[in-house]
């Protein structure tokens, strides 16, 4: 599972139809809000975050990536009881970072997707933690074990989810 450097000429850039670009994030939000009602442990999986990473890696455009991250993050914030912007900012950072990485690395195989998701999940959580503590004064505790466990779970889900979402990709 090599993560290989690729030249800009070699990379594939994808786009998505408008319905897919709207429905998939909304569906991810709905599932994220609905499933923990029966399966509380499902909360460790962050589907909106995974969708942000997927779109950013596939589109390989930093601006589109960060805007997608901001939009999905703000929608995710609006379901919580905390101020809008916590998930917005962290998903913006993730969208920008993932699309930047997508330009430089081959992220089409399962191994690289696993590692990229693992890395960006920690980035996402760390950003959220900083904002929540620094700006909103929420009393959060950072636990490496918990974060790494969640990152592993999200990375595993990402491999399966990305393979499914690949069906909706269209060559640009």
């Amino acid at each position: 599972m090599p993560i290989t450097y690729t030249s800009n000429e070699q990379i594939e850039v994808y786009r998505f139809s408008l319905p897919v670009a709207i429905i998939i994030p909304l569906l991810a939000l709905a599932i994220q809000a609905f499933v923990p009602r029966w399966l509380p442990f499902f909360n460790i999986v962050d589907l909106p975050f995974l969708v942000v990473v997927f779109f950013a890696l596939a589109r390989r455009s930093q601006i589109t990536g960060l805007l997608t991250g901001a939009a999905i993050g703000l929608l995710q914030d609006s379901l919580t009881n905390y101020p809008l912007g916590l998930y917005g900012i962290s998903n913006t950072v993730v969208g920008y970072g993932a699309s930047s990485l997508g330009v430089k690395l081959d992220v089409e195989n399962a191994g690289s997707r696993f590692l990229v998701t693992l890395f960006f999940y920690v980035v996402h959580e760390f950003t959220y933690f900083l904002i929540a503590r620094g700006l909103v004064r929420l009393d959060l505790h950072w636990s490496w074990w918990h974060e790494l466990g969640s990152a592993l779970a999200n990375a595993l889900v990402a491999v399966a989810l990305f393979a499914f979402l690949d069906r909706f990709k269209q060559r640009a």
């Binding site: 601006i63 009881n81 912007g85």
Partner: protein
Amino acid sequence: MENLITRYRNVTILVAVLFAQVLGLAVQVKRTSENESTRLIRVWTNDTISPLEKGTVLVHMSLRDLWNNYVNLRGVRQENKQLKDQIQQLRIEQARLSEDATQAHRLQALLGFKEQFVSQTVAAQVIGTSGSEQSRSVYIDKGSRDGLKQDMAVITGDGVVGKVLRVFSGTSQVLLINDQTSGVGAILEKSRLQGVLRGTANGDVVLEKVMSDEPVQPGDKVLTSGGDQIFPKGLPVGSVTRVAPGAELFYKIDVKPTADLSRLEEVLVVTEVKDREPSVADSGPPMRAADILAARLPTVPDKPATDPTKPLTAAPTTPGAQPTSPPASHPTGTAATPGAQNSAAPSSVSSTAQLKSANGSAEPKPVKPAVAQPNASVPAVILKSPKPANLTPSPASSSSGTQTAPAQEQPQGPPQ
């Protein structure tokens, strides 16, 4: 400068978007009434997501009902029999509790206590969560159309769940008591120590600001205190699981909620709470406080009376008779009217005798005046009656010597 921005266009946009969000966040945190201008995106998201959730819940409930009501009927007959037995036991229990409640109600009325009770609720179905590990809130399928408003209490049969945080037209967001931004005024059932119940970052519930001057044991029940003006007083919240010395003079108490907050399905939203002063008329046939307390006190073992021939004439029963003990010795310190003071002794005796008769004792036991002495403080409530003239003993009791239910001795009218 322009060249620089063009060169670093992507980074510039990233910084601009982040800055806008940080600014928005700072404004929201600073603003006290956050609801007013940040609602739109919440409303849009909610309106988009909630129909999906409602539809899924509807399908799930229909399938479950279909299965439970028409397919999975094995063992229903046996269960029915068990439930009938349980109903019988509960009826007996209910009769006993009803009597206790009536008595408590009457005493409250006599003491002029205001009681707070849940007069109206709306049943709601939980349709979704916030979908976040940090934010502990759920969505229910009732909103402003159903009369829900912000800050209404949300409960289940087990206990308190949370409060309504945001109300949309057809749905509402409920902040659970284990969220770290929630706070519930709570009281420990045994020690009556008050504190504030809060959620923690990892979803536990702690009771804070409880003074450590009285011991608190694991297992003690925690109830709502009513001090927060949201939750009615006396609702069960949880039980103490661990007690540790906290900062300064306060305990740090871990509480396990009575309601299972991770598996909520149906909840009740308290839409109306009323304060009312219980009236004696509401509480069934009138009965004197002295009789109630005498019935509850342990009976004195039977022993030969000092003067068995005149067991009941020792206590003065005429209205104008002087009290046997000075009024100043009364524990409550309430000014005593002679008639009222005198009426206490025979009444407690009579109720004790009645209780024994009701329990199956065929012949009434000889009643001793001395029995009344432990109950010297009993008539405190009666002494507060606005109409002491009504405390005249019945002619029957004074003439025949047998103490029957002193219906004429009831304090008439509302308590002060």
